[in-house]
Point group: C2
């Protein structure tokens, strides 16, 4: 059975220092996770918002490319056409809705995979014109001696996926947009297959088809093609409404094991698995019928958004155990462990 | 000044034989155009619909991957939750709207660039799961001895762009999806630049930013990346609401000349030009302030959709003249000619 870490949530908003004095952290979730030697590194999604001191003024944050700074945008709550009744959003008649939060990516290090020391400063924060409303949901794949980071970037153009590269996870180099808006949940495979790199991704548009897991290949990690939808929602209730890639696939003897999220009609996010052919990852050879991890604990059921379990990375440990780092209720960072053998039984 | 062909529209729906006996052609527009030796080839967007014989039954068409055929889908106009008041659409409460038309791509050949003989059968028609509701708006780029065809494919997943290759434009080989939904108007440059292929494209999502002209590069025409928005709508009225790539860029001494479409607040589509740096096509060095071609003639002002001028290809002739083939009012195929010199003055 899956075993939740006793000290869950292992990282909470109160464990994270704001990136600046006039901001507060209200969530830390959906972390990338990777082994670095004997240590574990998490790249946390930190959700901040500007501290509001005047009860009649709402504040949102926006990256300004001209000054290369994150600026506060002020809204008078008395203004006609402004609705601030939901503290997460400023609704304007003229320009639509603006979220009050901004996300950045923060490193955290651990010797035991459970107790983490969170960095004082962001490793990556909004810093380009396609990141104006923040960045979030990083995933890391170690491949050919480099850590490849993908993350979602939010701007007026929608949500796209950016790639960045690091040798040591202490400094990072952006490599630009790799998937055009709207597309996120990009999870890169840890090896080339038939000479190409591969990634799972999830385009999302207001179309009739429900959000699904897609695949793509690349000769160089920069240019992507051979797009194909490989897993659709359903047929079970728990993942009937939409699905998306979770962790970058893990190699097992039986196939590529993909831990993905499924969403039911009540917007409950749970985790299941699919198995992809080792030599042809476009071929689905197994799939969970029930979720192996779903919101049950108070910190999963209640939080900023109720009933969310969302993973961006799972770490294969020795002794056949898989550590799944996950965001609970869009609020905190948690850990659960399951044996590879058991998980494979679930998907075959 | 731009000169419209006297015999416009040069191809009308009545000039095109339906692809099957129980269908009728109601529009032929937005053609790809390319010189093949001394001849001109058009790849027409043919819009067909099933002939309705029972006044109480509406019919739409859908490609069925299982039988590899295009099937008719019947709707009882008396059914509750079905609205057929607009003959172009069947609106259902349960599954949303279905268009009654289906597009395919049909070749046409000419010795003089004006009088065309339209092929009896489609060159390309809906034939894969991402083309279930038809294909449309082809563009052709001749590069390195091959005709590269891009076209929009419509399915429940939205509208994506597919690439196909031909040596002679008599047979064609599909190469798969090159831009994920929603993305269309893909126009490939006719040469490599700095070792890479380049394309203009137009992602479209329900986001705050207005639809714009984007660029991308590719090492092999299959995998695309380095996505960047290079031209935004406005600031003039005629192209303030949205813009998109039109013809594949033409090489001139002053830069890459891109003929694009701009849309105003009344949904009027007109043509203007932008000039891109020859060595760095992400760099915009000139732009029209006024459209050089906009709906004025009766066949442009009136038709299936009023006030539409839309081009997919322009052909550079000897003597410095550019033949712009364009769709008028989403209805018929037209031709207008302008000197390169004059067009360049317009954009610099």
């Amino acid at each position: 059975m899956i075993k939740r870490e006793k000290t869950n949530p292992i990282i909470k908003a109160s464990d994270v220092k704001p990136s600046r004095e006039d901001f507060e952290v209200f969530g830390v979730f959906n972390a990338a996770a990777v082994e670095v030697g004997k240590r574990t590194f998490l790249l946390l999604r930190v959700a901040e918002k500007a501290i509001e001191t005047d009860p009649m003024v709402a504040i949102t944050a926006k990256y300004d490319p001209e000054t290369n700074t994150i600026k506060k945008v002020y809204f008078d709550k008395n203004d006609q056409g402004i609705d601030c009744s939901d503290p997460r959003t400023v609704k304007t008649q003229k320009d639509g809705n603006f979220i009050t939060s901004m996300g950045h990516l923060r490193g955290a290090w651990s010797d035991d995979g459970v107790n983490f020391s969170v960095d004082e400063k962001p490793l990556l924060a909004a810093g380009t014109p396609i990141e104006t409303y923040g960045i979030e949901d990083a995933r890391i794949t170690f491949i050919e001696g480099k850590y490849i980071i993908t993350y979602a970037a939010v701007s007026d153009d929608g949500i796209c996926t950016v790639m960045a590269v690091s040798k040591d996870l202490k400094s990072v180099e952006r490599k630009g947009m790799i998937f055009v808006p709207n597309n996120k949940n990009v999870a890169i495979f840890p090896e080339r297959i038939n000479g190409l790199y591969w990634a799972l991704h999830r385009p999302f548009n207001k179309v009739r088809a429900r959000e699904s897991i897609w695949i793509a290949s690349s000769p160089d990690l920069i240019h992507w093609g051979q797009f194909e939808k490989i897993v659709s929602p359903g047929p079970e209730e728990w993942d009937r409404v939409k699905i998306g890639p979770g962790a970058p696939p893990l190699r097992t003897d039986k196939g590529w094991l993909e831990i993905y999220h499924g969403v039911d009609k009540d917007e409950k996010y749970s985790l299941g698995g699919v198995l992809l052919d080792l030599d042809d990852p476009t071929k689905v050879i197994g799939r969970s019928t029930t979720p192996f991890l779903f919101a049950e604990e108070p910190y999963e059921v209640d939080g900023l958004v109720k009933n969310i379990i969302f993973t961006c990375n799972a770490v294969k440990r020795s002794a056949g155990m898989i550590d799944i780092y996950y965001g609970a209720a869009d609020d905190s960072t948690c850990l659960a462990t399951i044996s590879e053998e058991e998980l494979l039984k679930d998907v075959t």
